[in-house]
């Protein structure tokens, strides 16, 4: 039995990231939207308006937490207090799963608050596998790691990123949050084939996808989440859906955040792309027979 089936991972459709400029409108008007993703750390506090807003949001919509600070690839022990907050949030939301990034965020009791890349080595893989097992065990819901955008690679790396992520997911028995924009950004920055990356991931473990816009800085692409999804990323999304079948998707927009209608229209476009691809995919999930 595959990962999705074993955990009964639902298809939530297409949603968006819940962001400050839209809070009042969303909570007041309850616009049509399949689901929302929140940044986990913004809702760890035991009081205040954010907690109250989240309570309202989760009464009206399905909400999934997405973290940026777990530091799964950090060299220091996992932060037990952080995990406690995360577990409590997952419970409060009755979240069907929980996600973070394949990265590290700090060392030496300093948090850099960035999704920093790892050297992809056997030692790093062993280290991250054990940590993912612990996190998923503590959370008691499926845990998935997102491929982060990156702007540098280490000489020490001996494993291509997609192989690292695929083996990590298999050995730790966790899910994958496939950020299609990040694959495109990193492929451009590092010179690998984005399509081959997507084709190499175990489709059955991809439980969620991300779409977003990025910024062209000439020598590199920066994952800014500040614009519409680019044409090449839509193309990769079609490819990913063909492989993975109906997969819950989030459109992220974090900088130069537009009016709600613009964001909702972007989600509608994702829904249309998804429907078109899924109408051509056999009814049974393509990953059901995948190895």
């Amino acid at each position: 039995m595959g990962f999705r089936e074993r955990w009964s991972i639902p298809d939530l459709g297409v949603g968006v990231g819940f962001r400050k400029p839209h809070v009042v409108q969303v909570l007041r008007e309850r616009p049509a939207m399949d689901w929302f993703e929140i940044i986990s750390e913004n809702y760890f506090a035991e009081g205040g308006i954010q907690r109250r807003n989240l309570e309202e949001l989760s009464h009206a919509y399905r909400v999934v937490p997405h973290g940026v600070s777990l530091s799964i690839g950090g060299a220091e022990p996992l932060d037990a207090q952080y995990l406690g907050h995360l577990k409590s949030l997952v419970r409060r939301l009755d979240a069907p799963w929980c996600t973070d990034h394949l990265c590290w965020t700090g060392i030496g009791h300093v948090d850099v608050h960035d999704l920093l890349p790892l050297p992809f080595t056997r030692q790093t893989l062993d280290h991250v596998v054990e940590r993912v097992k612990r996190v998923q065990g503590e959370l008691e819901v499926p845990f998935a790691l997102e491929n982060a955008s990156s702007y540098m690679e280490f000489r020490e790396s001996t494993i291509p990123e997609h192989e690292f992520l695929a083996e990590l997911a298999e050995r730790a028995d966790c899910g994958i949050l496939l950020d299609v924009n990040n694959v495109f950004v990193s492929a451009y920055n590092h010179g690998f084939d984005a399509r081959a990356y997507i084709d190499a991931l175990p489709a059955d473990r991809v439980i969620q996808m991300h779409l977003a816009g990025h910024t062209d800085r000439g020598a590199y692409l920066l994952d800014t989440h500040s614009d519409h999804v680019k044409a090449e990323v839509w193309e990769l999304y079609r490819r990913a859906l063909s492989r993975c079948g109906a997969t819950s998707t989030i459109v992220e927009w974090d900088e130069s955040i537009p009016a709600w209608d613009v964001l909702a229209a972007e989600a509608s476009q994702a829904r249309a792309v998804r429907d078109a691809v899924l109408s051509t995919v056999p009814r049974e999930q393509p990953w059901a027979s995948a190895t």
Partner: protein, 288 residues
Amino acid sequence: MGERDVDERRAVPRELRGLVEIQRFVSDAVRGLDDIPRDPALAGHAESLIVPSARGMTPPERLEVYREQFWLRHLANLDEDFPTLTWVVGGREAFRALTTGYLRACPPRTWDLQRLGADLPGYIARDPRWGSDPLARDAARLDWAFMEAFDAPDSPPFDARILASTPEDAWPSARIDLHASLRLLPLGHPVHDLRLALQRGAEVERPVVEATHVVVYRDPACFLRTMKIAPLAFELLETLRSGTPLGEACEAAAGASQSDPSEIGERLGGWFQQWTAEGWIRAVRFEA
């Protein structure tokens, strides 16, 4: 190498030493003030660890992308958190010079970006330029109080009927629990008015020196508010917060503010009504 470094190295399993070395270098480099490609030592180290990009970026240039992002993210975060202090020190540019020094001296210690400015009031007090400016110290403390009140733990609503139904002789031994968001600030300037005026986009002037007792709090509707209160009420709240029973707290507050003890008796009922309406009182506990 310091003693602490040696101990930390001993604690690192052999198989993780390579990872630790990389992470320490990257963490230090991205938090640095120096442009990485222009610093020969950093650039050389980056060359030894990082591969050039397929698009022609050198290893130091690739690492520099992360350094730029570190400073953009953290400085922007502090801009949002300290609007009053930003105005007091002369605007965005001067504030960024200040917070750049702050982030070097007090790097982010937690995943919680809300806590990024936790040490800024203390840093300001020690800063050679701003430490001697009482207005800057007041502004930093006020802005930080807002940050703390923002997400302090919630409490269930207090049942005000208890105030009317409790026999009078039970009150002296009662202990009053205050809402976790309450911040009591003795200030040398009315900086709460300055913050409010800035929020409204009004023309403002440097406040005059004036001893001011301010409460920063989150009201029952979750709005952040400030209220200037009388020194006597301020002393009483401070004493109650330490867990002192009401009777004893009233005597102590009157003594500390050199007030007539009868004044508290006359004003206590009104204060309790107001404090309850504002959500300052979380619970009243009586001796068993």
